[in-house]
Each structure stands twice: as C-alpha cells, then as structure tokens.
C-alpha cells in the first residue's frame, strides 16, 4: 500500500478558535492508483492535499497519521518533512501560473532548486528535457522567463518540475481549474500518462469537477465538511452513488444529450456548515432530504460493496 492515512485531523488557527478543516480522515491508496478527491469549496479537499506535503502557517496537525511506503510522514514537523518533499511527496499547486520565480530563467531556477536539494542538474537535465518534450514543450523553455510562456505552458512546466524526482505520491490540486476545456483534457491525460510511465506511483487529484476526475481516476472520494463521506471506484460513484450528498452532487451535473431548455439544473440548497464548531452527528443533516432522528448520531461507515464505503445511516447494503 502506498499511502495509509489514519484519522487525520488538521485545524486552522483563527482568532475565533480552531477551524476543524480535517476532522478524522482515513483512507488508503494503492500503488499506481489515481484517487479523485471531490467536494464543494470549503470541504477540506485542499487542506487534505496540503497536509500531506506542507502545512501553511495557520494549519496545525492535531492528530492522526499518514504512512507513505511504510514510513510515517512527519506532518507536523516542517523540517523533518523537508527531506521527504519532492522526492517522495510532491504537489502540483493550484496556482501553477504563478508558481515560478518571475525573475529567474526556468532552467536556472530548476538548477538552483536541484542543487539546493543535493541533486545534480547536469545529470537530470536529459530526463528533464525528455519530459518537457513529452508534454509538448521544447528544451528552449529552460532559457525562458516564466512571463514568456502562456498559462498552459507554465502549467506543463510545473507538472514536469514537480514530478522530476519520481515521487511516490503526487497531489494535483485543482490543476485544471484555470484552464480552458481543451487544455483541461490534455492536462488530465498527462497526469494519467505520468502515472503509466512511472514518473509518479500514485496520485491524489483534488478537484471540484467530478466529470473531469471521473475520466482519469480509479477511485473517487467525496468529502464533506472535513470528512470523507463516500469512497468507491470512479464508475460506481457516478452510476450508483449511495450518500445523499454524492447523489446531490451528481444530480447537479448536466447530462450530455439531454435538452434542458428553460429548466434549471438542480443545485444543493444551503451551504456546508461552518467548521469552527462543527455540528454533531451527520454533518450533511441540515441539507439532506432524507434526514431523520438517527442522523443526530454519528453515522456509521458502511461497506456496501468491494471498495465502496459510505458514511450514512441511510446507506442500504
């Protein structure tokens, strides 16, 4: 098993108190698996992704563990984490367009970064160029400043750079959000290609675009209010979702071939609860059409099928 996350809890420190952004998240990732992580804004998707590589200044590791390739990741220890970053865990950030130092040529920046991590730029340059060509960029981009590249090109440079040291785990955080539809497809396919060619072992693709992640992910996890509410093979999530929240998410997607006319697409009324003081019991309760008395209790984790888990009272086995 590549990654084993157990009861991970990460809070944001605010002046009003701790925001429970990740409140007991457990899941595992097989070697070579691409997992899609979906959910609304503010569900903790990005927090989960960040927790596995670098907590920012306001985040605090409160409990739980993440074990990568048999070695526990020192999530709360920024220094100890440094040795694992890039080499074992890497990230393609949400902000790829501005992730490169604007006043350094891309090649020079890469060289400086590699040298700082104790790697030789010269010995890796061949591989770097090969991978750049793989994503349709020429060696010449190394002599360019980031400003000379288009947004899509910068994104591809960052994808190559992030995976250059063949990490075990790659976190792709909203990588397609800022791109047009054709580029989105290309980026998604590149991610799969990177996995197939062994540049990365397994991958967590954080997105709010279910329809896109469905095309590349083996497994999809749906998060709600700091917890994972459903996890199953990608096909199953779309075809036979069990959790009312997943159902509502899928229901909000437009379907190809259907004429909607004046009819409005369905949306989920309300918004996720504030995580400063998360509600007890099922967190989707207030927006759930099926909510009943038992939902005031913590919902059980139900295994409905092989690899299909749902945290809901109403999930029928």
């Amino acid at each position: 098993m590549a990654l084993q996350v157990e009861d991970l809890r990460v809070h944001y420190r605010t002046t009003k108190g701790d925001v429970h952004a990740l409140d007991g998240v457990s899941f595992s990732l097989e070697d070579g698996e691409i997992v899609g992580l979906a959910g609304e804004s503010g569900c903790g998707k990005t927090t989960l992704g960040k927790s596995l590589i670098r907590l920012d200044g306001r985040m605090r590791h409160v409990g739980g563990s993440a074990v990568l390739d048999g070695d526990e990741l020192p999530i709360g220890d920024d220094r100890a984490m440094n040795a694992r970053r890039w080499k074992e865990v890497s990230i393609i950030p949400q902000y790829s367009m501005s992730a490169l130092n604007p006043t350094r040529k891309i090649g020079k920046m890469t060289a400086e970064l590699l040298r700082a991590r104790g790697k030789s730029y010269r010995s890796l340059k061949g591989e770097l160029v090969r991978r750049l060509e793989l994503v349709g960029l020429s060696e010449k981009v190394l002599d360019n400043y980031p400003i000379e590249l288009s947004g899509g090109m910068k994104q591809r440079v960052v994808m190559v750079l992030s995976t250059l040291l063949d990490p075990s785990l790659l976190i792709a955080d909203e990588v397609t959000s800022a791109l047009d539809v054709t580029n989105q497809k290309a980026v998604a396919e590149t991610l799969v290609k990177f996995r197939d060619m062994g540049f990365v072992k397994s991958m967590i693709v954080v997105t709010h675009d279910l329809s896109l992640v469905y095309q590349i992910a083996d497994t999809i996890m749906v998060m709600y209010a700091g917890r994972i509410v459903e996890k199953s093979p990608a096909e199953t999530i779309i075809k036979a979702p069990k959790h009312p929240y997943t159902k509502a998410l899928i229901g909000a997607l437009p379907e190809v071939g259907l004429e909607y006319g004046d009819e409005r697409l369905k949306s989920i009324p309300g918004k996720p609860p504030h995580l400063l003081e998360p509600p007890t019991g099922c967190r989707f309760r207030d927006r759930c059409p099926l909510a009943s008395e038992e939902c005031f209790q913590e919902p059980p984790k139900v295994v409905v099928d092989e690899g299909h888990e749902v945290a809901c009272w109403k999930a029928e086995v």
Binding site: R54, W86, P93, P102, T103, L113, N144, I147
Partner: protein
C-alpha cells in the same frame, strides 16, 4: 528596446524644454525688480546716474529687449553653457557660483541617500523574518519617516553641537581655514559634514526599512515561495529569491529619491548653514537673483531627469519582465 529608449528620450527632451521654459518664466513672474534692488544696494540717489546705472545693468542682464527675445537669448546662452551673471554675487557668473556650491550638495546627498538605501534595505529585509527585530524596526521606522528633516537637523545640532559639543553646528568648513587640499582642511570638512549627513541619512533610513520589510514579506508569501517550500527548497534559496525580487521596486524608489531629495537638502543646508545648492537657492530667492535662481533650478531639473532616466535603464536591466515586455516575448 531601441524604440522604447527613443520614446523615453523624446519624453525627457520635451520635459526638459518645458522645465527650462517654466524656469525662465517663474523668476520674471515674481514680484520685485532686481535691478532696482541693486541700485538701492549701491545707494544711488542722483536720478541721472541712477538712470545711467539702470540702463547699464539692464544691458548686462539683458532686460533691455522684449521678453520673447530674452527667452530666445536665454536658450542660445544655455547652449553655450552661459547661465548669465549673478545679481547677488555680482559680477561672478552663475555657473561658477553654482559649481562652487554643487560639490557640497553632492557630497551631502549622494552618501546619505545611497547609504540609507543600502542600510535601510538590509535592515528591512532582516526585520521581515525576525519578530524581535520587526517589533523594534517598524515603530522606529515610522517615527523616523514622520520626522521632518529640519526638525531632526535642529535636534542633532542641539544635542551633538551645543550640548555635547562634538561637532560644529554651522558652515561647510571653519572660517579660520581657506579651502585647500591639505589634511587639516579635509578633516575639518568631514567634521562639518557629519551632522547634516546624519540628519538626512536617519530620516531616509526609516522609509527604506519599512518599504523593504513589507516587500520582502509580500514576496515570502507569494506563490513561487510557497511552491519552492512545498518542493522542500531550503529557506536560504527562498529568501534569496524574495530579496532579489523585493529590491526591484526599491531601485526605482532610489532613483526617484536621488532626483527629488534636493528639496529636503535645502532645509538641512539652511539649518546647518551648509554652503550647498540649498543655501544658495535661498539666497537667490531672497535677493531676487533671477539668473542664479534659473541656474540652480536648471541643475535640479537636470538632476531629476538624469536620475529618472537612470532608473528607467537600470530597471530594464534588472527586471526581465520589463525587458521582455519591451522586446515582445514569445508565447
């Protein structure tokens, strides 16, 4: 890039022409008559000789022709390097009076501006990553930038000059000495230079430190810093990048400062009776010395334009973004 500089040069040329024209007009729009003033100074009471002297001076200063011709003469003389004759220091030429004062101003301004820039930036960059230093630098910086030049100058003169008696409070050198190239004179010069220098240096320091602190913090929070951190880059590399990028706006600031600080130096020079351009400017105004005033303002205009142009050039050299913007980057 050539097109960019040609356009810049055109703009600077145009600015120069307009500035010189205004420079010509302003003293003539001031109330009072400089020739009449000279006559009273010489206390000529006889109307006839007074008339003769008036026409003589009018001729010397070129007031005997219509204004438009004065304007043309002014330009013609300018290109010959002739700025006219000073009324106040008559019969010395304006250029010699200005050139006598210029070294004092430069010796005061250049070190104070450059040193405050270097020290301020270093201090600000350190403060950006050090809570303890930050809590000290920031309030002190705010106080320093808020302090008017002359107030600090007076304070320094009072403390180090009057109370402690370490430094002289007035003049560019002791009146007992005549300017020459000898050690005693140079030491004396430095001795007189310390207080005016300090007053300019200290006031400018705070502003640079605050600016740099904010810029470095901004760069350290930026996306590329975050990305580098996520890839496990050492703090040293990230700070180096942040500093390099943060210093870019400061370079422009420096060049602008070099141009405009003459105003600040004026007050300082007056407080310390320092024989630079500032004191000279004050004398020119109080004596209604058109030509001297024009000459000094001309030097200031040239200074501002020169340093601004320098800023444009340096900025293009150090920041690839502006450079590539001019060349039209490929995409």
């Amino acid at each position: 890039m050539g097109r960019y500089f040609r356009r810049k040069l055109l703009i600077y040329g145009l600015t120069f022409v307009i500035a010189v024209s205004i420079n010509f007009a302003v003293p003539r729009l001031m109330p009072g008559d400089p020739v009449a003033r000279m006559l009273t100074r010489n206390s000529v009471s006889n109307p006839e000789s007074s008339e003769a002297m008036r026409s003589y001076f009018d001729n010397v200063f070129g007031f005997d022709v219509p204004v438009w011709q004065q304007y043309l003469n002014y330009w013609a003389a300018l290109f010959k390097g002739d700025l006219g004759v000073s009324v106040y220091a008559f019969p010395a030429s304006v250029s010699s009076v200005v050139l006598d004062a210029l070294p004092y101003t430069l010796a005061l301004l250049l070190p104070s501006i450059l040193l405050s820039w270097v020290v301020g930036n270093a201090l600000g960059a350190k403060a950006a990553r050090n809570k303890l230093l930050d809590n000290g630098v920031l309030p002190i910086g705010y106080i320093l930038t808020a302090v008017p030049y002359m107030w600090l100058a007076i304070l320094l003169a009072w403390l180090f000059g009057i109370i402690l008696g370490w430094f002289p409070v007035a003049g560019g050198y002791s009146f007992a000495l005549t300017p020459n190239f000898s050690w005693p004179f140079i030491v004396d010069l430095l001795h007189h230079w310390v207080l005016p220098f300090l007053s300019l240096f200290i006031v400018a320091l705070g502003g640079w430190a605050i600016g740099m602190r904010n810029l470095v913090i901004y760069e350290l929070e930026s996306d590329y810093s975050n990305y580098l951190q996520a890839l496990g880059a050492p703090t040293r590399l990230i700070r180096r990048y942040a500093f390099r990028n943060a210093v870019l706006p400061q370079i422009t600031g420096l060049a602008l400062q070099l141009g405009v600080v003459v105003g600040g130096a004026l007050v300082t020079e007056v407080v310390f009776a320092y024989p630079g351009l500032g004191s000279l400017l004050l004398n020119a105004v109080t004596n209604q010395d058109f030509f001297l005033l024009q000459g000094i303002l001309l030097f200031i205009v040239i200074g501002v334009l020169l340093f601004n142009f320098l800023a444009d050039v340096v900025y293009v050299l150090v920041d690839p973004r502006t450079r590539l913007g001019l060349e039209g980057g490929q995409s």
